[in-house]
Symmetry: C2
Subunit: 201 residues, 2 copies
């Protein structure tokens, strides 16, 4: 059976749990406590030298890191990843947007607010992250005002990737009421067959 | 003809210029001065709402953003992107590593050092970026100590993505002499047919 090394509060991990569940693929969850250094032990670094969850391990020992690479691989040949090259290009465009312009701001702000004591440096960095996170939400709002989903008006791994931290952005202090099309899309993603919440195993 | 909106000193733009050149695809370069807000004008934001270069525009008006999404799309069906799903998964894993763990540290540190006056906040953030950038270079060193290239010991878009800012990491103050396998790989990438330097049009 697949083994998923993960931390339940992680949106990056949630992307993989949600994709596996919606595709009906069974997996064993191995919880790694990233708050106490669980992803930086010699044992874990031997599995993923980059020291991050989620990490997917196959029965034959192969391992794959990076949430968006994992869900693309799992979704290959399913309705969650279009076969058409131009549609795939747009899926990847939104997934790289997520990892570069969205996650480092919204997810990191959420992690800091939830789990860290903020010193002066972090407080000033948090202001930058709120600004950049709102810019990312603005880009999403503008796109979703004219589209049901991110690519080809169909639910795909691009939606899963962007849903993971957007729907909990309020925990970092972002006001999603300012982004009504994003809110409508969040409701639409929640209606998809096999949906489950972020901390569900 | 393809139009590439780009800034010559950008490693993200260089990925696309190098891929287009190595694939023999002609393109018109449209220079955008990101130092004077050229990627945040109303005209440019109408093309890419995320306000970033590189942006590739096709003759029929289609547009694609995000350097790594662009080079995956261009490389589809060529030796630069393997067809095998597991090899593709590894290519994407390294490309998401690049955009999340490598570029925001090494490229951002380089941009700050080259183009900005650093205040106290930025100086302290730069220390964090040097530490995280060295961690990313360490992950690359560990992998390249046993491999000629990142995936399947063959040159691919994963190498192009990681080469772009690694080979200029010295401009940010990183000491590549500490990463001998990375240096050997840099030389190997430079030997590939059709290679050209970062600021070549």
């Amino acid at each position: 059976m697949l083994k998923l090394y993960d931390f339940l509060d992680s949106g990056n991990g949630y992307k993989v749990r949600l994709t596996l569940t919606q595709l009906g693929i069974p997996y064993e969850l191995v919880e790694v406590d990233i708050l106490t250094g669980g992803s930086r032990t010699p044992e874990f670094l031997a599995k993923n030298p980059n020291g991050r969850i989620p990490l997917l391990e196959f029965e034959d020992g192969r391992r794959l890191a990076e949430s968006n690479a994992i869900i693309c691989y799992l979704a290959e040949g399913t309705p969650l990843l279009p076969a058409d090259p131009w549609l795939r290009a747009q899926v990847l465009q939104w997934m790289f947007f997520e990892q570069y312009s969205h996650e480092p701001n919204i997810a990191t702000a959420r992690f800091w607010v939830k789990h860290l004591q903020l010193d002066d440096l972090r407080r000033r960095m948090l202001e930058d992250k709120m600004k950049a996170g709102n810019a990312a939400l603005g880009v999403m709002q503008r796109h979703l005002a004219g589209h049901a989903f991110f690519v080809d008006d169909r639910y795909s791994v691009a939606d899963i990737a962007l849903f993971a931290y957007t729907h909990v952005a309020g925990e970092a202090g972002f006001d999603l009421a300012a982004y009504p099309a994003v809110q409508t899309w969040i409701a639409r993603v929640r209606e998809q067959s096999g949906h489950k919440p972020i901390t569900a195993r």
